[in-house]
């Protein structure tokens, strides 16, 4: 039966050639390490979000009078609704973590250097889209946490003179966060952002395949370094097959990520859903200690300590622009960061600052 299906497909789509070219003869560098699997785990997390999001849509009601109630029903009445929602909540954080780790890995391995600048830019844009996914999804449960976090997020553009207020009102659709805001964020969350990330992801993967996976600067890649004066595919003839060798490593990391996810769901179910997430939105009462999600704590703390709001937001936008355009600003050919002590020092210092601001933001 299986052989007949294979033959049927072979005649019609050239299955064997496809498997050979895309999996078994597609090679990764000999010195590839485990950090190169983070991108695949991020992709896996995204697929989890798509699947669980689709199922949650079957019971979620995107209407301010009923949104909170429908989420409560998903958590308490719908069989296993709590499981799908928890996977969606923890999965969104997993996705942010994995994209951050993937970005750091590419940075420290010098994988953004010529000719992979566009791959980097697309990846960083996907990180921004993922954070936008999280922010837009945050409002949907219409809880106190959702409402006030969104109120703060939609007030950020008001730091800019002239157009700031207009941008803020366009985001909200009204003067305050209201049912109109909920509908806008819902439409953005389930329609616009999935389309944008699908396009970015498609282009990102196309470039990875088109150019070939970058070799880590550590260990022997088995290939002589040649300057990139024209387009060529980095075929890694001496490397390992993508399938099954590298895919098995990726699957191990996927299982590890799943283990962490189910540990959090089973033993720390309130970690990402604190008390305010279970109180319906009240536009007349701001909760006492409202804080953003962990990945936004650093920018939040930065805004708190910089006295001028416009200066604070502008500085953050500059940091984001530098981050996206980094391959065009740092153009030295040496991709071993250990041979670039100033770059290494700057990178580690930036990371430490981010961690310090995050912890400071959490406990300030």
């Amino acid at each position: 039966m299986w052989v007949r299906i294979r033959n049927w497909l072979e005649i019609r789509i050239g299955l064997e050639e496809l498997i050979r070219a895309q999996l078994t003869e597609y090679r990764v560098p000999r010195n590839i390490n485990i950090t190169y699997t983070f991108g695949f785990v991020a992709l896996f997390a995204f697929l989890i979000q798509v699947i669980t999001g689709f199922f949650l849509l079957m019971y979620y009601v995107p209407y301010s009078e009923m949104a909170f109630r429908s989420i409560q029903d998903i958590m308490t009445t719908v069989p296993y609704g709590w499981l799908f929602r928890q996977i969606h909540v923890v999965g969104s954080n997993l996705m942010v973590v994995m994209i951050l780790l993937h970005t750091l890995s590419v940075f420290f391995m010098g994988g953004y250097k010529k000719p992979r600048e566009l791959t980097w830019v697309l990846g960083t844009l996907m990180l921004l889209v993922t954070v936008t996914f999280c922010v837009s999804g945050y409002l949907l449960p219409w809880s106190q946490l959702s409402y006030w976090a969104t109120t703060i997020a939609t007030m950020i553009p008001t730091a800019f003179p002239i157009v700031g207020d207009l941008i803020s009102e366009l985001m909200k659709g009204s003067e305050q966060v209201s049912g109109i805001t909920l509908n806008r964020f819902f439409a953005i969350h389930v329609m616009l952002l999935p389309l944008i990330i699908a396009v970015l992801l498609g282009l990102h993967l196309f470039l990875v395949r088109r150019i070939g996976i970058s070799s880590p600067p550590f260990g022997k890649s088995g290939e002589a370094e040649r300057p990139w004066t024209e387009y060529r595919h980095d075929s890694h003839g001496e490397g390992y097959p993508f399938f099954p060798d590298f895919v098995l490593k990726e699957m191990i990391m996927v299982m590890f990520a799943c283990a962490v996810m189910f540990f959090l769901i089973s033993f720390l179910p309130t970690l990402l859903l604190p008390e305010e997430a279970n109180i319906p939105a009240d536009p007349f009462k701001t909760p006492a200690h409202i804080k953003p999600e962990w990945y936004l704590l650093a920018p939040y703390q930065m805004l708190k300590i910089i006295p001028n709001k416009f200066l604070g937001i502008s500085l953050q936008l500059i940091i984001i622009a530098v981050f996206i355009l980094w391959p065009f600003l740092e153009r030295k050919e040496e991709n071993n960061i250990l041979k670039r002590p100033r770059l290494l020092g700057f990178s580690i210092l930036s990371l430490i600052l981010w961690v310090v601001f995050t912890v400071w933001g959490k406990y300030s």
Binding site: F55, M58, T77, V78, P79, Y80, L83, F84
Partner: protein, 136 residues
């Protein structure tokens, strides 16, 4: 058994266990949460439905109809057509029950007279006690 075969078998079993662990919650999640509404008894006065008239009521979450047939007394049916689920109507002039979707015609016993339905209409138990009609 060779080591490779044993590992393949182990991997298949683990895969099936993992798939099963997700399949069960998913099926439960997708199944209607409330289940079927329980059928309760409903009481009417006979005078509410004169001879040759019908009354449409919701009964246990299902649209139902009670018809006072000339010379034959009361009968209660589900209004859901046994063909494809449209709601049937009582046609007083023709003394028939008609489905508007595919022109199915039922007699006043609920039997198919013409059209595509594969079986008669579902009947609900009905008792007449004095001046009251008890359904269910």
């Amino acid at each position: 058994m060779k080591k490779r075969e044993f590992l393949s078998l182990l991997l298949t079993l683990l895969g099936l266990t993992a798939a099963g662990s997700f399949a069960y919650p998913l099926v439960r999640f997708l199944a209607p949460p409330g289940g079927k509404a329980k059928l309760k008894q409903i009481t009417f006065k006979k005078s509410e439905i004169p001879v040759g008239e019908a009354k449409e009521i919701p009964f246990g979450g299902v649209p139902a109809i009670i018809i006072n047939r000339p010379g034959k007394g009361f009968i209660a049916f589900s209004r859901v057509c046994s063909h494809l689920g449209c709601l049937i109507d009582y046609n007083k002039a023709q003394n028939r029950i008609i489905c508007p979707c595919h022109a199915a015609i039922f007699d006043l016993e609920g039997n198919v007279v013409s059209g595509p339905p594969p079986k008669p209409l579902q009947k609900f138990p009905l008792k007449v006690e004095g001046e009251s009609i008890l359904i269910g």
